[in-house]
Assembly symmetry: C5
Homo-oligomer: 321 residues x 5
């Protein structure tokens, strides 16, 4: 579905143009066309391929979808794939934005992403001195928007990790913790799959040998790279912390197990002593003088309770109970 | 066993040719020969070596088989080894395709692979503008076919992992999970052995210093590389997840163990109390007034049941039962 | 908040100057301005941006804060972000110092850092032959001051680790150890986040291709790099040791558990034997001659105590008790 | 001990020569000398040093022995150290072959290796067209022979690993498995120490900047490198699998422990119930009507057996027994 | 404390010279001065700094001490820091040797190291042809001496590891093993801290771009590098093995725990059965015919012993006892 298709000159909007007119405007010097598709059908992509003269392999990738983030050069043009990551309740929803960039056109194709990029276009049109840098600046603006939307996801994941960390040494929360840690790890990996390859790809858009169309916007791509680097660092730290937390959680299970076992052992000992005494005076020997005493029974119970009470005291003191 | 041997000119099929005629056709400019063997005998390979003037060490490798995936240059020609990975029931079957590529010939030798490459040849013949790029394009087409067949295997492995993940926190499934995780890890390693070295090798067919015969098909090899990179990324993520899952599984064993122990401790305590009371009234003291009461017996049983019931309530409340 | 703003010539202080005068002094050859802000408001930064002609993206980073440590080139000028790490009771407090460096100016912006850099300026003014090296030397002096403050933090963390190590094989300290190890790991990661990226960044200020303004102070930056490298090495060693300590701690839990279990088993066996004997002589058979013996009862108790005593001796000898 | 010392010209054997004649033959163009020592004494090495003008440091290394595999350039000559790995019963025996290679000589010194290299010499003499490539080809042939002997060792280790894997989920084999896994890991590390440094060293004999005497045999060294790379890959995979197997083994111990505990708990419960009932009817209350019933006893036993039987059924159903 | 200070010419000793004369001798061509300090005071270092014109930052490092091993270039001179590692009873004692090397001087400063380098000087003076290579050869000789002293430490650590390995599968040694493994790991890390950075530093003294004064002694530094590489390899292997041993030790704890539990379960079952039988015949039912039998009592005891004996046999057979 075509969202919009606009021609710009010197950073200013010329006109909304129909698809058929694209190839005309592309021909004009100092003019560039910025088109945006959403959940494009193969037919729409075919049409765009003809208008913009896109490379066959790039269009194939866009049709198939589910690409890893990457930036590929096809002659003078670029084909960029970035993944959007959005919070959808407790889950992360992964979408994809494919951007075809030539010297005088930008075509973005968004799939499975609920948030659009109208805001990006609006802000760009309000800053003609930036937009006049051409199509590479539009690529930057789109990437920057996608990457900025990673930050709240990272924050959410870090908050979740902190919540788990607060509960990690609390009795009886180990099962819940391990489930949440596993789920969190899954999400961190998901986000990392969007971030890490993109970071590598963007790193090639500044510094060393840079594609010609990006040569005047290097500092902007370095800025995007820096953001991705920071996010990646946070994700690596989280992975490390989650691994440690899983190990620590296992230790806590073992420690609690050990405490339960000690308590079990203590109570078992107390009752075993009690039962042993009762067993003695339950024997049927003829000559057991204490059985005939007037206060033998209460004395016996007293001894039993006394001994067990003393054991209880000992175990309490040694921390087993 | 020779499958077929065809000469092409300008991307179009000239003729099926007999083995003896190969060296003639190879001599003609603008003409190339594409031969395919299956489970070749040493004699067949010797014959091919003579017709195509293949390098001794490369032929030796093809005879021995069980090579790691690689692409080696011998002068102007290439020797590529790729592994096929096919689903055979629950198991993965590893086969091998050795491809000898020269400026005007391609010889593929397939071993232990149930699926052939007739479809690759058919499609190539339907697209003469591509086939006219020569032998390097055929190498690409063969590799692409092999790599495309990795995807369903990856999907199967990912499905298996998700199935295990759904059962990882379910009571009593730990033994089955650990067996399945181990088996899955084995398969991931197997596939990784086919993918990772090939990825490194294909990475040298585009970008920097490229073998002469591949210089016009770089974008195609980059496409194959990209697919391999994506698969490799998935496999790495699976390895990471499997490691975590094994750890988590161990934690779950310990947690369940701990819960069983608590329940055991609780019931042991209840019966120990019950038995202790019975022991008291089983003692043979002469003066135990309650033994002579009319309703002593039901009262005693009542006390025993009451105390134990109260214990049961306490344990239930604290989550031990 | 502006702390101070001073113009220097040939390493000697010229005058405290008002903000408005900055752009004048910057224009003079051989003269440079060193200004320092603390917890700057966006307005102050805007004003500075105009006076020093700072790059928009760098100023944006300084406004947003919470940057990772880095050193970026903007044309001929540098933008450096370093993190301060201070002990705040048991916790680590992370602050940030952003430094803008041009050929003839230095602007430092400090946030969330309790300790200032007045001492750095004072020492620099006492050594005019060093200060005359210009703005890059000031950058070095500021970095050196920040990095020097990492050392006591590292010492504190190492002391904490040693304290835990001394307790790692002591009975019953496993729960406390694991909590402290986890907390320590967290702090090590925090410090490492300040150190590692800065080390990489400083590594580019000497040796190979160096920004022009740093070319005469390379040996100083190598010195800072060397300090960071040393700290980083210590942190890596601590991470490694903490990982091992966590594993060892788990082993100690299991070993103590095992010892408790053995003791439990031994006592259970002793009392089971005792109770079994009591059970025998508590049976109601008519013909049990020993029940009628005069000294049957003490003999029986003697046998019971004797057997259990012997068991106790056996267990003691085998180390179970 | 000198094994043999032969002079070759154009790939053909000239004559067996005495040690003293070596320096004469080395002087002739197109002629090279191939000498082989075994468990050489320092005196023999000194003599060889003089005849071949070997570098002092290389000879020192050969005398001391126990070098890591390496290939060092001394001016125009090479000094190669390779380790032989042989099966000696269940154990691996590590030997060493030091090879001094100059433009017109090869000196191999074998230590602690039971298998010799007479076969290598014999085969080389049967292929004069290869031997005529000179001393570098002899180095290749020796290395190839050593590396070929690694393969059966790798096979043996892989077979051992498979045997363990088959037993990993079998009840009660955990102790044996862990011992065998540890032993296997030790052997894998041992072999890896022979393979990995050699792989790195051989990697420098083809491709980029290559020592002059190896320039015409690059494809052969690439072949050796390829073999080493394959072995190294297998060893890495085995290390990874062993690590996982050790973890899985621990999980299996915990799982079996847990199953034993459940069974213990179940039987404990059954007997506790049995004993509790017996305790009730063993009490000495006067008014316990059921004690006077004619069939009270069999009824009581019936109830006890019935309840316990029902418990048994319940536990059986829930999988605890 | 000055140990000695000698001037050399053409590899031969000229004279012991006083500190004040150093700057004179340094001025002469073909002459170099080799001075050695021990536990130098700041004043001594200041004096040396003036005589040798040492760089301020290098002298500062030497004063502060506790540097990581490194080799830094200051103009044409080198500043090397190496750590000595000595056995001091069971512990490792870390010392430091700082070496300042210029075209015609060497100054070594030793701290906390019990062994000196008089032997190095004596041997160097006996080999004038080597000493005539100048100051870089002295640096080599000192490094070589330090590195040679690492070998006995490595041997000691490996012996300790082997001792532990022999005990790893022995019953009841887990606690001692884990303590020794932890201690060993600590020592390995300590030694590695001395070795690894030095290896990297020495690696820059041969091969590629080499400091001018080392250009004629590259093969010697390669020899030192090779030794360090070998030690580093051993340490890495030990770290790997220790990690595995810690894991295996934990498995052994779990396995022994499991065996103890089985034995506990078996004995508990036997006594539970015994007690259950005793409980039956301890019941007070009126009509229990077997109680009146003449041989009821021995028969009952016989039955109880028989059943328990049979259970014992069953458990024995299944390996639980």
């Amino acid at each position: 579905m075509l969202i919009n298709c606009v021609a710009y000159q010197d950073g200013k909007k010329l006109a909304d143009i129909p698809i058929e007119a694209i190839s005309d405007y592309i021909g004009r010097p100092d003019c560039f066309v910025w088109a945006a598709l959403r959940d494009a059908t193969p037919e729409e992509l075919k049409q765009m391929q003809e208008e913009f003269s896109l490379h066959e392999l790039a269009v194939e990738d866009a049709m198939r979808g589910h690409q890893r983030p990457k930036i590929e050069e096809y002659g003078d043009s670029l084909f960029a794939v970035v993944q959007t990551v959005e919070l959808s309740g407790e889950q992360l929803a992964i979408g994809e934005v494919d951007v075809f960039v030539g010297a005088n056109y930008v075509l973005s194709v968004r799939s499975n992403a609920s948030q659009g990029f109208l805001g990006v276009r609006a802000r760009a049109e309000r800053e003609p001195h930036l937009l006049s840098k051409g199509s590479a600046f539009v690529l930057y603006a789109l990437m920057d928007a996608v990457v900025d939307r990673y930050f709240p996801v990272v924050d959410m994941l870090e908050t979740e990790l902190e919540t788990i960390e607060e509960r990690i040494f609390i009795h009886g929360s180990q099962r819940a913790n391990i489930e949440r840690l596993y789920e969190l790890k899954r999400k961190v990996l998901l986000l990392r799959h969007a971030v890490a390859p993109l970071m590598d790809a963007v790193g090639k858009l500044y510094g060393g040998r840079v594609p010609a169309i990006c040569s005047h916007t290097q500092e902007y791509f370095r800025d995007v790279h820096d953001h991705l680097y920071r996010i990646n660092g946070s994700l690596d730290a989280m992975r490390d912390t989650i691994s440690t937390a899983i190990q620590v959680n296992l230790s806590m299970v073992a420690i609690e197990e050990s405490e339960v076992n000690k308590r079990l052992a203590a109570w078992a000992a107390i009752f075993a002593v009690f039962t042993a005494f009762a067993g003695i005076w339950g024997m049927n020997f003829k000559f057991m003088p204490e059985l005939d005493w007037k206060f033998g029974y209460p004395a016996a119970v007293g001894v039993m309770v006394g001994v067990c009470g003393y054991l209880y005291y000992l175990f309490k003191k040694s921390g087993w109970l």
